[in-house]
Symmetry: C2
Subunit: 142 residues, 2 copies
C-alpha cells in the first residue's frame, strides 16, 4: 500500500486555497497544560482563517488585552480507503476580533455548529504553513 | 442552520467503537513548544489506540526509557454540508511499544501512508475521552 506513496509539499498560496475549499477543520491549542483539539468550521479571508468558537480561558475575550495564543489549525481531505489526499497545518496567533472590526459579514458567513452564548469570532494569522499532498504518484489538484 | 443543533455526549465504550470504525485520525502533541498535529492511521486494540508514526524527538524510541508524552488523538466523521456527525478526542499517554511486545500483528495491520525509515509503533492509552454526536435532533448510530 505504501510502495509508491509519497508526500508532495504544497506551497502557502495553494494551501490557503485548499483550506478555503473545505468548510471545517480542527483548532489545536493548550488547555490546562494539556493538548486540546476541537473541530470548528472556518472561512479564509485575506489569507487569514476566521473561526467562530468558544475557547474558554485559552484566549482572551474581545475588547480585552487580546495578546492571543499560538494555535495550530488543521484541515485535510483524505480518501479513507486509498489514503490519498491533502493535509494543511497552519500555525499562528489566534486573537479575537476587536469589537470595532466589521464582524457582521463573518457572523453572517460562519454558522457555528452549536450556538453557545459566549462564542466569538477569532482570527488566526498564519505564520507557518505545513502542507502536503499524500499521493500515490498522480497528483490531482481539485 | 444551528437552531436545532445540539451536542449529545458519547460514552467511553461507544467512543472507542466509533474510533475503530474509521481508519485514521490526528495526533496532537507539542513540538518545540508549539502545538503540532499530524494525520495518521490507527487501529483500536484492547481499548487502546495503536498508531505507526515518527514523532521525532517528541517521544522516546523503543527500548529507551520510554516515559511517554501526553497527547490528544482526534477523529471525526462529520457531514460537511449538514454539519452533523461525531467527534472523539482521546487524551492520554503515548509510548512506543517495547521491543519485546508482539508487534508483528500491529505492523501487519497498520500500513503507514508514507514509509519512513524511523517510524515505529506507538500505543496511546486513553485516560480521558471527550466525545459527542453533533446532531440536528435525530441521532443515527452507524
Amino acid at each position: 500500500m505504501t510502495a509508491d506513496r509519497h508526500l508532495v509539499p504544497i506551497g502557502r498560496e495553494e494551501a490557503l486555497r485548499l483550506l478555503g475549499k473545505v468548510p471545517f477543520g480542527r483548532i489545536v491549542f493548550t488547555a490546562q497544560a494539556l493538548p486540546a483539539i476541537r473541530p470548528v468550521n472556518h472561512i479564509v479571508d485575506d489569507d487569514c482563517l476566521i473561526i467562530r468558537s468558544h475557547l474558554g480561558a485559552a484566549i482572551s475575550a474581545p475588547g480585552q488585552d487580546a495578546a492571543g495564543i499560538v494555535v495550530a489549525y488543521q484541515a485535510d481531505h483524505i480518501d479513507p480507503d486509498k489514503g490519498v489526499g491533502w493535509s494543511v497545518v497552519v500555525t499562528g496567533m489566534a486573537r479575537p476580533l476587536s469589537v470595532d472590526e466589521d464582524t457582521r459579514r463573518y457572523t453572517h458567513a460562519l454558522h457555528p455548529w452549536i450556538c453557545q452564548p459566549d462564542d466569538y469570532l477569532i482570527r488566526i494569522v498564519p505564520e507557518l504553513i505545513t502542507a502536503y499532498w499524500l499521493t500515490d504518484g498522480v497528483v490531482t489538484r481539485p
